[in-house]
Symmetry: C2
Subunit: 699 residues, 2 copies
C-alpha cells in the first residue's frame, strides 16, 4: 500500500466524525452525537420523533404539527394534489389555497400518508428461506417469495401496511409497519410563486427566499385525527451552529455501490438518462408553449423534469470528479484488502466484487433496450402507464402472491388501487403529444426495426400511433379502469380500448426484458451486494448507516453557512432578501414578487428569518421533512439541497453541501403578515404554547 | 493543422466580437461598437471623455464630476490619504469624513492627480535612435536613452508631465502629456465599513453592497479648478443591457505574452510571489493583532495584500487551466504559422519566439535572487524603501539623464520628490517588525550564506538587524530626507543614520542584479517582444489593443447579470440587499451595518440601486474609473471585478467576468438619506441639470 493510500485507509477505519448519515431509528449515531454535540437521544425521544414524522405517497416527507392532525410538508410535495384539485377556473397552484375554517378544508383526491408505528428485524427469516448453493436466479425467487410472505403475514395480522425493507444492500431485512391515513384534506398552500420564488434558476441554490410549505389536515372517521405525537413550532428557529435533526424519508442513495457499479453509472446509465430527460423537458416545454392551460397541465411535470435534470447532472459531475473516484476506490481497496487478509472472510466474500463487475458488464451490453422496454418511460404521462399497469396486474393477479412482481403483491394492492382508481383529472391531448415524442425517441434510440418499437408503432408513424392509442380511450374514467381490473385477464384481453390494446402490445417485451434483468443481472448483483454488506459488517461492525430506501431516517447536523467562491454564505436569509432579489432583477420573472407578498411590503417584518441551511445529510424524498431541535420543536422544513450537495448521492460532504429549509419563523411570519390565516396561526401557536408547558416534552 | 485547431485559428483571425478590449484613445474600437451597439464615438466625444478622466498617483483612476473641480474616485483609492490625515484621535478611515463647506475641505499630504491633455506617436523617433545590428544590451541602452531624451524634451517645452509609453510590447511608443494637479483636498468619504461592507470575504465578489466612493476637490492657485470637461451624474444609471463605457487607467495585463512567458508565470513567478504575499499577510496580521492602533497602522497595507492575494491566486488558477493554455498556444501557433508562410516575415520575425523562450529560461535560473535583491520586497514599509531610493538617487543624479535608471530621469523627478518628501506619518515600530520578518524570509529563501543576506544582516539575527536599522533613524522627518538628497552622494556616504547605512549595504547587490536583468534578460525580451508585435501588426493589422500600461483606456460593454452555479446573478443590487445581507449574518463582522446606514434604516429608499455589474474589460488600476453612458453621463463608479474576471489578466471572458460598480443613483441616495451632505448633493444635481440643458453635451 502506498503511504498516501495507507493514510486514507487509516482515516476510513476511524469512526465517522462528520455530520454524516441517514440513520435508521434502530441504530442512531450515539457516539457521533455525543462526541460532536454532547447529546444522545433517548428511546422516548426517538419514539416521539418517529411517530410525529410522516411519509407522503406523492414521494415526500412531512410531520404532525398540532394535536388536531395538522400536517406540514412542502408546497412542491403538495403541488400534485393542488393541481388535481384545480380546474381552468380555479388555479390553486397559481393563487394558493386558504381554508379559513375546517369546513373549508378540501379532501385530496389520492394522497396517502404513512406513519411508521413499529419495525422489526427480519434478516434471519429472509436468509432462512434461501437454500445454500442454489443459483442466483433461484435464490432471487426464493428471496422475493419470502419477502412477499412476510409482508402478507404482517398485513393479515395487523391490518397495517407492511413493507419488507432491504438495508445495507441486502445486509439486513426489516419489516416496517405503517399506519395509513387516506382522508387527508388541504388546509393552506401559498401561491406557487411564493413557494418557488426564483423558479428554475434558483432551484437547488442558496441564499434562497422560498415559502415552500403547505398544510394538510389528517382525518380519521370524518374527524381531525388526534396524533399521539407532534412537533410544536419554535418560531425562533435554530441559532447559528445549533444542533438540529431531520426525520424524513430520503429516497435513494448510492454510497455503498462498488467501483464497478459507480463506473457504470458514470459512463453509461447517467449519460443515457440525462439525454432522455433533456428530451422530456423539451417536449413538456413545447406543450406548455401552446397556451396557459397547457402550461398549467404540464407545470408539475416540467418542474419535476427540470428538478431531476439539475440533480442528475450535478450528481454526474460529482461522480465524474477524479478525486471522488479515487476516494471510492481507496475505500473499496481498504475493505477488500482487510477481507483478503482473513482466510475465512476471503473464502466467504472475496470473489463478490468480481461477480458484481461481471453482472454490471452484462447489464451494460443490453442497458439501453432494458431501459426503454421497462423503464420509467412515461414521465409526465398518466393514462399510458395506467393501461400498462392494468394489463400487467390482471395477469399477475392469477399467480400465487410470492410469484408476482413486487408491486402486485397483496400487501401493495390497497395503495395501488388507491392510486390507479384516483379521480384526478387526466389530459389526453397532452398525453398524445408526449407519447408521440416518446415513440420518436424510441425510433431514434433503438431503430425502427427493433421488435418492441415495431409492436408499439404497429405500422404507423409515431404521431399516428400515439393518436391511435390515445384518441377514443376511456381510460380517463376511474370506473372504466376499475371495471377492467375487476373483469380480470379476460376483460382486458377482450377490451377494444385503443390504449389497452397499445399496452397489450407492449407487455410481452416488458416481461421478457424485466425477467432477463431480474434473473441474470439483479439476482447476481443482490447476491454480491449481500456478501459485500456482510463483509463490511465483519470488518467494520455496524458503525455506519445503510443507503437511503424511502424509509424513515434520522440525520443530524447544525445550522451553518459555508464558503462559496471567495466569500461566505449566511446560515439564514431574511424577508428583506426576498424583496432585494426581486428588485435587483427589476421584478422580472421568475423573480417577480408573489402578489400577496408584494401587497404586504411595509407590513412584513423585514428582519424576520425566511430560509436557513444546515449540514444534515439528506436527499430527494426528504422534501417536507421536519427539522427539529433537541427538544423536539420544529425549527424548519426541509425543501431543498444546495448544488454543492448533489454529489451526496455518492458521498456526503460537510464542507459546503447543505440542506435548505424554510425557517419555522418564516412560516409564522407569512401567516401573520402575508396570508390572512389567523385560525391556522393560532392553532400552531397554541400547540407550541401547550407543548412548552408540558414537561413530558423535555427529555 | 488538426481540424480543431484550424477552426480555432479561423475564429481568431476574425475581428474581435466580444465586449473586449482596453483601447487607446487613438484607436477606438469603432467596428465592434458599430456592429454590437450601433454607436460610434466622435472625436469631440473622445476628447470630452479623455479630459474628464483622471489618474491618481496612489494607483487608481477617477473623474471630474462638477464644473468646480469635484473629483470622484473609490474610497479604497482614497484610503491611503485618509489614513495619512488620521491620527489616533481622529480616524477618518473608520468614521468617514464630511466637509460641509469648502472651507472644511482638507489638503491631501501627497496626492497627485494627472489629466491626459495630449498624446503623440513617437514610435519612429524611438526606433530611429536604435542602430541596426547592435547587440540587445546596447540596443536597450539606446532605447532607454532615446525615451529619456523624448520625455525631457517634452517636459522642457511644455512644462507638463511627459511619459513615453510603450504599447504593444514595444510595437509602438507614444508620448503622453499630463497636466498635474497637486493641490487636492478631501471633500467626503463614507465610513470604511460602508465602502467595504463584507470586508475581505466579499472583496471581488458580487452581488455586492458597497459605497466605495470618495470625493476630492482639485484646486488651482488656491481656488477650485474649473475643468474644461466633466461627467455629470445620471442617477437613473444604466438599464439592463445598456451600452456603457469605462475610461480609466488599467494597470497591467499580460495578454500578449508568449506561451513561454506564460508558462514562466504559471510555474515559477506566480507560485513564488503567492508564497511571499502569504507571508506578508501573516506578518501584517500579527502586527494588527497587537492592538487597535497597530491595526489602524497596518489596515491599508493588509487590505492591499489580501486584495493582491485574491487577485493573484485567481489569476494563477485561470492560468493553470489547461483549456486556457490550449487557447493561448493555438493563438501563438496561428500567428507563427502565418509568419512562417511568408518568407519576408519569417526572416524578420521568425526566430523571435525562440529568442524569447531562451531569455525566459535564463531569467528562471536566477529568478528568486533577482526578485529578492531588486523586487518590491518592502510591501507595507515606507522608511526602508525611502532610504534605498535616496542612496540610489544621489548616485544616479550624477549620470547623464539618458544613462539613469528610468525612475530617476529628469521627467520623473518632480513626482519622485513629491512622494519622497511627503509629510505623511511613518510607523517605525511597525517598520522594524515587518523588516525583521522580511529578513527572516530572505534567510529561508536564499540561505544565510547568500552574500546579499549576509550584507543586510551584518552578523546579526534578523530581529537585531531590523532593530539596528530602524531604531534611531531620522528618516521619519521629511526635512532629513530632503537634506540628504540635496547633500548628494557625499552626504549620503557620510551619513551615520542606521537606515541609510542599511540601504548602502543593499545597493551594490541591487545594482548588480538589476543590471544583469536589464542587459541579459530584459533587452532580449524587449527586442523579441517588439518583433513579435510587428509580426502581429503585419499579419492582423492594428485590429487589437495593447496590454494595459496604467495609461488612459476606453473599455465598452453593457450592464448585464450572468450565470453563477445553476442560478442567475442580477445586473444590479438595491439598498435592501445591504440590510438583508447584514441581517442574514445576524450583523456579525464583517457584515455589521455601517453605523450611519444602520441609523438610516427606514429613511433609505430600499429599492434604490446600490451596485451594478457590466461586461467592460477592466483590471487593477481601473479602481475609481467613471462608468459613462453614450451621452457622457456618469452612471457608475468602477470599484472591483468579480472573481470570474480574474483570468482577465491573460484572457478576457464576456460570459461571466464582470466589472463591479457603485451605481450613480446609489451615491446620490446615500448623500440624500445616510450622509448629511446637502451642499455636495446639490453641486452634483446642479451639474447634472446644467449639463442636461447644455446641447454641446450631446454628440
Amino acid at each position: 500500500m502506498k503511504p498516501a493510500l495507507f493514510l486514507l485507509a487509516a482515516l476510513l477505519a476511524a469512526p465517522l466524525r462528520a455530520d454524516e448519515g441517514m440513520w435508521t431509528f434502530d441504530n442512531p449515531p450515539e457516539d457521533q452525537l455525543f462526541e460532536r454535540y454532547g447529546f444522545v437521544p433517548t428511546a422516548s425521544w426517538l419514539e416521539h420523533a418517529r411517530l410525529a414524522s410522516l411519509r407522503f405517497s406523492d414521494g415526500g416527507s412531512g410531520s404532525f404539527v398540532s394535536p388536531d392532525g395538522l400536517a406540514l410538508t412542502n408546497h412542491h410535495v403538495a403541488v400534485g394534489q393542488l393541481q388535481k384539485m384545480s380546474s381552468p377556473k380555479k388555479d390553486f397552484v397559481k393563487d394558493g389555497f386558504y381554508a379559513k375554517s375546517r369546513s373549508e378544508e378540501i379532501p385530496c383526491p389520492d394522497l396517502e400518508i404513512n406513519q411508521l408505528v413499529s419495525y422489526e428485524d427480519a434478516t434471519e427469516r429472509v436468509m432462512a428461506a434461501i437454500p445454500k448453493d442454489v443459483p442466483p436466479a433461484a435464490a432471487n425467487e426464493k428471496r422475493k417469495a419470502a419477502i412477499a410472505a412476510l409482508e402478507k403475514d404482517c398485513t393479515d395480522k395487523t391490518g397495517l401496511r407492511c413493507d419488507v425493507v432491504e438495508l445495507y444492500q441486502g445486509g439486513e431485512y426489516w419489516v416496517y409497519r405503517y399506519k395509513k391515513y387516506t382522508d387527508v384534506r388541504l388546509v393552506m398552500a401559498p401561491e406557487k410563486q411564493a413557494a418557488f420564488f426564483g423558479g428554475d434558476p434558483d432551484n437547488f441554490t442558496y441564499p434562497r427566499f422560498d415559502l415552500d410549505y403547505a398544510f394538510f389536515r389528517v382525518y380519521e372517521g370524518g374527524k381531525p385525527a388526534r396524533p399521539a405525537r407532534f412537533f410544536p413550532f419554535k418560531g425562533a428557529g435554530p441559532s447559528e451552529g445549533e444542533l438540529v435533526f431531520v426525520t424524513g424519508h430520503p429516497g435513494s442513495t448510492s454510497r455503498l455501490l462498488t467501483a464497478a457499479q459507480l463506473a457504470f453509472e458514470r459512463d453509461l446509465a447517467m449519460p443515457v438518462s440525462l439525454k432522455s430527460m433533456r428530451r422530456s423537458r423539451a417536449a413538456l416545454e413545447a406543450w406548455s408553449a401552446k397556451g396557459p392551460e397547457q402550461a398549467r397541465q404540464a407545470g408539475n411535470s416540467l418542474f419535476g423534469v427540470e428538478n431531476g435534470l439539475k440533480v442528475r447532472s450535478g450528481e454526474w459531475e460529482g461522480l465524474s470528479e477524479p478525486k471522488f473516484f479515487a476516494k471510492k476506490e481507496a475505500e473499496e481497496s481498504d475493505l477488500r484488502s482487510r477481507v483478503a487478509a482473513d482466510p475465512a472472510l476471503q473464502k466467504a466474500y472475496g470473489d463478490a466484487w468480481e461477480k458484481m463487475a461481471a453482472a454490471v458488464k452484462a447489464y451494460g451490453a443490453d442497458y439501453k433496450r432494458h431501459r426503454i422496454y421497462t423503464g420509467s418511460r412515461y414521465r409526465a404521462h398518466s393514462l399510458a402507464p395506467a393501461a400498462e399497469t392494468i394489463v400487467r396486474w390482471v395477469a399477475e393477479a392469477e399467480k400465487p402472491n410470492g410469484d408476482r412482481y413486487a408491486e402486485f403483491r397483496d400487501s401493495a394492492l390497497e395503495s395501488l388501487r388507491w392510486r390507479l382508481f384516483s379521480p384526478a383529472p387526466t389530459y389526453p391531448e397532452m398525453e398524445e403529444f408526449l407519447l408521440a415524442d416518446r415513440l420518436r425517441e424510441y425510433v431514434e434510440e433503438l431503430g425502427a426495426d427493433d421488435p418492441f418499437v415495431k409492436a408499439l408503432l404497429d405500422g404507423k408513424t409515431a404521431e399516428e400511433a400515439a393518436a391511435a392509442a390515445v384518441r377514443g380511450t376511456k381510460m380517463g374514467a376511474p370506473a372504466f379502469r376499475k371495471a377492467l381490473v375487476e373483469g380480470g385477464r379476460k376483460a382486458v384481453a377482450a377490451s377494444d380500448d385503443p390504449l389497452i390494446a397499445f399496452a397489450r402490445r407492449a407487455d410481452p417485451f416488458y416481461r421478457q426484458m424485466r425477467d432477463w434483468y431480474e434473473d441474470d443481472i439483479e439476482s447476481v448483483e443482490t447476491e454480491a451486494s449481500e456478501r459485500i454488506a456482510r463483509a463490511r459488517f465483519a470488518v467494520y461492525g455496524k458503525s455506519t448507516y445503510p443507503d437511503a430506501t424511502f424509509t424513515l431516517r434520522l440525520a443530524f447536523g447544525k445550522a451553518a453557512g459555508y464558503e462559496q467562491g471567495k466569500t461566505l454564505v449566511p446560515y439564514k436569509t431574511v424577508f428583506s432578501g426576498l424583496f432585494a432579489r426581486s428588485d435587483s432583477f427589476d421584478g422580472k420573472a421568475p423573480f417577480d414578487l408573489p402578489p400577496l407578498a408584494a401587497a404586504s411590503r411595509g407590513k412584513v417584518d423585514m428582519k424576520a428569518p425566511l430560509n436557513f441551511v444546515s449540514s444534515n445529510d439528506i436527499t430527494g424524498g426528504n422534501s417536507g421533512s421536519p427539522v427539529i431541535d433537541k427538544d423536539l420543536r420544529l425549527v424548519g422544513l426541509i425543501f431543498d439541497g444546495n448544488v454543492e450537495s448533489f454529489p451526496n448521492e455518492y458521498l456526503y460532504s460537510e464542507e459546503r453541501g447543505r440542506a435548505v429549509s424554510v425557517h419555522a419563523g418564516g412560516i409564522l411570519e407569512s401567516l401573520r403578515s402575508i396570508y390572512p390565516m389567523p385560525a391556522l396561526l393560532k392553532e400552531l401557536e397554541s400547540a407550541a404554547a401547550d407543548a412548552a408547558g408540558d414537561h413530558s416534552m423535555h427529555h
